[in-house]
């Protein structure tokens, strides 16, 4: 009981994720700023932002559905934190795992996007509603390639459990190289999931102010932002677990350091990508995902199916 409490609330649960998420936001902002020839924020800026937002008044729009409006940030945070429990961090074994946890993680990660939609929709503000519809439309574009590439990797490992997948790739050191194409596609699809440039269409500030979050403020916005930061860490960890299984035979603490390095690498790649592209239009993004990424992801599935036959 006490152990479960520790796992859920302290490590690798809420408290650890809180600091890790805000650190990730700092890194993202700092790297992006340096790439854009700016100085960037100091290390405590995300914490300061969070505390400042906590101290502000919650304002719920008159026409909004109060229950849904207030529930959504909490739901988003809960879903992302729960998903993290199934991803291996300390050593190659996650805190909880069962065969099929990969699917659970993917669906837990689907919930935040759904909360952006519902939160935006029930704000009843015109900008929020357009943003909400956009985030849902975008979801249908990037989920398919993202899921397919992760499926490809799982096919090769012949398991639906993240922990077993990492075990498999640790046992077969060279195999990760087969998934490089999948990793690239997953990384770009990730930008859609995290709503970052070039796929920050749902919150394109020059068109629809802040999209879903236009009406959010105070503590609710703080929670939403925290859940987005944590989502970034969780998705990066998922990618690290699936595609970058390095150093898994080492002792647990070394494994943990290796894990941190992998996550930072992915965050660096995300920041790099978001500073070298312009925002695409929704129709262009859907075209890109369905015309190029989805077939390429299928190709990865095919490659892995053949490999599986050849290698076993």
């Amino acid at each position: 009981m006490l152990k479960a409490f520790f796992h859920i609330f302290i490590f690798p649960g809420l408290l650890f994720l809180f600091f890790f998420g805000l650190l990730a936001e700092y890194l993202d902002r700092k790297i992006c700023a340096r790439l854009q020839n700016r100085i960037g924020p100091p290390w405590f800026q995300p914490f300061a932002d969070f505390l400042k937002l906590l101290g502000k008044q919650d304002i719920v729009p008159g026409e909004a559905d109060t229950t849904v409006f207030k529930l959504m940030p909490i739901l988003a945070l809960t879903a992302t934190v729960t998903a993290y429990l199934y991803i291996p961090t300390w050593g190659s074994q996650a805190v909880y795992s069962f065969n099929g946890d990969l699917i659970v993680v993917l669906y837990l990660l689907f919930i935040p996007t759904m909360t952006y939609f519902l939160g935006g929709w029930y704000s009843r503000s015109i900008y929020s509603m357009v943003g909400a519809v956009r985030s849902l439309t975008q979801l249908f574009a990037y989920e398919v390639p993202l899921f397919l590439t992760i499926l490809a990797s799982a096919l090769l490992a012949n398991t639906w459990s993240l922990s077993e997948m990492t075990h498999f790739y640790a046992g077969h050191p060279g195999y990760w190289a087969f998934n490089l194409l999948g990793f690239t596609i997953a990384l770009i699809s990730l930008l859609g999931k995290l709503e970052k440039v070039p796929f920050d269409i749902p919150e394109a500030e020059t068109e629809i102010v802040a999209g879903t979050f236009t009406e959010y403020g105070g503590r609710l916005l703080a929670l939403f932002r925290l859940s987005m930061d944590i989502e970034m860490v969780v998705v990066a960890s998922l990618l690290a677990a699936v595609f970058l299984p390095f150093g898994l035979h080492l002792p647990s603490w070394a494994c943990f350091i290796g894990y941190l390095v992998q996550v930072f690498l992915i965050i660096f790649l995300i920041s790099l990508l978001r500073s070298i592209f312009a925002r695409l239009r929704l129709d262009q993004m859907i075209n890109l995902c369905w015309k190029y990424f989805a077939p390429l992801a299928f190709l990865q599935v095919l490659i892995n199916l053949i490999l599986k036959g050849v290698l076993s």
């Binding site: 020839n37 900008y127 500030e205 068109e207 929704l282």
Partner: protein, 411 residues
């Protein structure tokens, strides 16, 4: 929400995409724009009327504040008109200095536009880079005139500051840096795929439409119209330098980007030529406080297009009438046309692509009745007739000229 699925989105008066308060009402069907309404009037300051209440010298500083970016354009345009009425022939050095400042202003305006365009399509890195490089030209402007925005260099009869010989080297050095950077941006514009995707094919304005809607400046030149006041009707020192009028056949936002970037290269060449040939002599001659009776129209190629000032004097030290036709007013008509059947996502960049300056453009259209305090919307036609009647009472009657014009048109 309507049953038809159409959504009406207000863009402005306060909106992150707009740098000035203006209101657009966009009707959307899905992501497509079906109707587009412009409401201007949030930024009206009554400058034309204020000019009539001040002396010519005060007006130079007032018209400089019509716009925060092309401040030199407006003051030069105004001063040229006044000088024409007074029959003042400028010293050559003053003409050169005016032209140099004008070109420096064009550089800073185009670089500013590049950054804004990058921001509108979500390419913030371009914004940061372009504005960093813009600092070079801002520093040069501060060095030459003492100010970064409103240079205050023009005066009736010349310029107020001379360019020192030791500063010329620094300007040339700045031009070298900027030329290298501009070539890099041209490379970015031609090579960066997401940027090209967002810019090409957006905001189409064909040659015929550009002529019909009276587009000016880079907007017109990107539709293939070779129209540039600097070339067609040279003022200041433009007749003494050689430069190309940049045009482009793309007819879209991408074309407008290319035109502006290539124009920057021309600016550097013009400034180098002018600094090389800079004649010796005084920079100003004494102008009378009272300007003799007369009228003049002055044209000027501002960074956004042709700027036009009409000044009428009545022999006193205050003008009788000042009329400003800024380039945005000529281009704003084209925007509604460009936005037909485009996406909401393209709206900010299409508006930004004409490089709008709403504070230049704003016109008052709502009138308040003196007695009932009721707001009254007046149609343009009535407002025009009222204006004509008011000016006729003041003694300026154009009916003879209008008849002559109509006769000429018939021929």
């Amino acid at each position: 929400m309507h049953d038809s699925g159409d959504i009406k989105i207000p863009i402005g008066p306060q909106h992150p995409a707009l740098k000035e308060p203006e209101s657009f009402l966009v009707t959307l069907h899905g992501e497509k724009i079906t109707a587009f309404n412009v409401k201007i009037g949030y930024n009206h300051r009554g400058i034309e009327k204020a000019c009539e209440e001040r002396t010519y010298i005060q007006d130079v500083y007032l018209v400089e504040r019509v716009c925060g970016i092309c401040s030199h354009s407006h003051s030069t345009c105004f001063v040229q008109a006044v000088e024409e009425i007074a029959g003042i022939e400028l010293p050559a050095r003053a003409k050169y200095i005016r032209t140099i400042i004008a070109e420096l202003e064009r550089i800073h305006s185009h670089l500013l536009w590049l950054g804004v365009a990058g921001h509108e399509v979500g390419f913030d890195t371009l914004l940061m880079y372009a504005w960093r490089d813009r600092e070079v030209v801002m520093d040069i402007l501060a060095l030459l005139t003492g100010n970064r925005v409103n240079y205050g260099i023009n005066t009736i009869g010349g310029v107020r500051r001379d360019i020192k010989t030791e500063n010329i080297q620094e300007v040339l050095k700045g031009m070298d840096i900027l030329e290298e950077r501009t070539k890099y941006y041209i490379g970015v514009a031609q090579g960066e795929s997401t940027l090209i995707k967002r810019l090409s094919g957006v905001g189409k304005l064909s040659y015929e439409d550009a002529v019909r809607l009276g587009a000016v400046g880079p907007t017109a030149r990107a539709s293939g119209i070779e129209r540039d006041v600097r070339h067609d009707d040279p003022y200041a020192a433009y007749s003494e330098v050689t430069f190309k009028v940049i045009t482009d056949k793309h007819c879209d936002v991408y074309g407008r980007t290319v035109v502006r970037l290539k124009e920057l290269l021309e600016c550097y060449s013009i400034i180098r030529q002018l600094l090389k040939k800079l004649p010796e002599g005084p920079v100003t001659i004494k102008a009378p406080r009272k300007i003799p009776q007369g009228e003049a129209v002055s044209r000027y190629e501002a960074p956004r297009g042709e700027d036009l000032h009409y000044v009428r004097s009545n022999g006193t030290e205050k003008p009788d009438r000042v009329k400003i036709r800024p380039p945005t007013l000529a281009n704003i008509q084209a925007v509604s046309h460009m936005l037909q059947d485009s996406y909401l996502a393209d709206l900010p960049i299409v508006i930004a692509a004409i490089d709008p300056c709403f504070s230049c453009t704003d016109r008052m259209v709502a009138l308040k009745s003196q007695h009932s305090r009721k707001k009254d919307v007046v149609l343009w036609e009535k407002l025009r007739l009222d204006g004509i009647a008011w000016h006729r009472k003041q003694g300026s009657d154009f009916s003879a000229l209008n008849k002559k014009l109509a006769k000429n048109l018939e021929r």
